[in-house]
């Protein structure tokens, strides 16, 4: 039987184009197999990526920090519920610094006597504007936008902004 099949295959496919019917179906199966594999892979990837970590596009989550005048110049107030430090610079500008160290994500703490944020994990240090003073951290602390309305300081804790360096344009000033 198999001998007969082999012969018939040979005689069916003479000439340059030597793709037999069997060969064709073999290739078709393989192609279909690869296609099914890719589809499954795509489905699994989509399954994992679409559900988790979705940016819901929720409206701003404003947290009211207090009246502008209650924060002295060059002072840092901790808001552990919102996981940020509200830091008022020497020139009166506000910034809400995330307490996550940019090296490996530990919580930094404000050491007033040293005038810097220090990370307990690998001793990275940041100044009052969030700028790096001591490695291994390479990026300035991330921050949340600050809005000042009717003399009240509000922090949008729904939008975390990452940055490399700190700059004046990231500060908010009372009008």
């Amino acid at each position: 039987m198999s001998g007969y099949l082999k012969n018939s295959v040979k005689t069916e496919t003479p000439g340059v184009n030597s793709l037999s019917r069997r060969g064709f179906f073999g290739m078709a199966w393989k192609g279909l197999g690869i296609l099914v594999g890719l589809e499954t892979l795509g489905m699994i990837t989509a399954y994992f990526f679409s559900g988790k970590n979705k940016n819901t596009g929720a409206p701003r989550q404003l947290l009211e920090a207090g009246p502008v005048d209650s924060f002295g110049l060059n002072s840092v107030s901790a808001f552990m519920g919102g996981r940020f430090y509200l830091a008022r610079q020497q020139d009166g500008g506000f910034i809400a610094l995330s307490l996550r160290c940019t090296h490996l994500g530990c919580s930094v703490s404000w050491e007033a006597d040293k005038n810097r944020f220090i990370c307990p994990c690998h001793s990275s240090a940041f100044d009052i504007s969030g700028e790096v003073l001591n490695p291994p951290a390479a990026r300035a602390l991330s921050y949340y936008p600050v809005l000042i309305e009717n003399g009240l300081v509000k922090v949008d804790i729904g939008t975390l902004k990452e940055r490399t360096r700190s700059g004046k344009d990231q500060l908010s000033y009372a009008p």
Partner: protein, 420 residues
Amino acid sequence: MRSIFLHLHPVKVSESALKLDRTFGLGGMAAILIVIQIFTGIMLRFYYVPSPASAYDSIVYLKEHVLFGPFIRNIHYWSGVFLLLIAFLHFLRVFFTGAYRGVRKINWLFGLFLLLLIVFSNFTGYLLPWDQLAYWAITVSTNIIGYLPLGGTALHEMIVGGKELNAGTLQNFFTFHTALFPLLLLTLVIYHFWRVRKAGGVFLPQKSEKDEMVPVMPNLVFREFIVALLLLAVLFTSAALFDAPLLEKANPAYSMNPTKAPWYFAGVQELLMHFHPFFAAFLIPLAVIIFLAWIPFMKFGQEHNGHWFISDLGKQSSTVTALFAVLVTLSGILFNAWVVNFEILIPGIPAIISNGIIPLIILTVFMMGFYLFYLKKLALTKAEFVQAVFVFIIAAFIVLTLTGIFFRGKDMELSFPWKI
């Protein structure tokens, strides 16, 4: 029952395969520990609740209100620790007796994969208590993923399910730890054993004529039974005497000081103290894994004879290389911590050069020196040379790991164990 157990074995086995110093029974021990992990893991799941609000409380409940609750948890904890150590020793044994050649090539790869699987099973389990130790150890470890080139940030956010640990992370880790990894582990371990059987059992030095085949029952089965009993005795004693750690409930606002990665990643974390994350967490581990996977596919002039460390020269070069590796790693750590920190010394250039390329070049110079002035003069065979490289990597890894576990105190500064 008896026939099932006997069915797992061949009828007869070579007498020299029974000698304790051939395998030390390490592979068998690892298999027993995996079975214990599955049993105790299922038992723990009857009480554990995988949500940030209840996880910690469910373990406190287990400890305080469940008969044998702490004991079962302690067994699961210690069995996890032992499994890692024994799987690592098994890996060393297989390498140093050359049991990775020829038909065993593929099984070496499966073995490496199983070792990684055991590491990541342990890692995903580490988070589940949701206490301060778990929360911060997993925070620093997962943040390392964010430094991987090409999509490291996306991968980090996918595994963690967000920018920082949350309910999704716990759900992910719980599923990995209690479903995906055990399933893979069990399937692959069975396959791993089957391939050993297909390859003709334990790898032996060239057969001598005296080597007789003896019946498995009782010669091998009784030996296995003794090893299993001893292992269980040590495991249960540890579980009865030493409690698995449980600190206060996780508090995302306050980091532990010091925050350490799980102990088996202490080596990588120690490397991170000295190298830019791209090198410490990516390039160096990747190079090591590629080297290990490549070992059985190298073209060796002569076959490994199956003797420990190949030859007397192999033994000698391994010992000296291990000493050199310990010396170079220790002095590197101390030099970088006390004498020169390139990132602070040369602040103008990118950290990847000052803290990556420069120290790597210095290390390479030392290793080249060692090669030129010692290894080269011994006229080692290729197999002996590869063995020396392997020894260097393992010894350096062990020194880094021990330093990270025992010699890093407050603020991750170097200190002595009794001061931590």
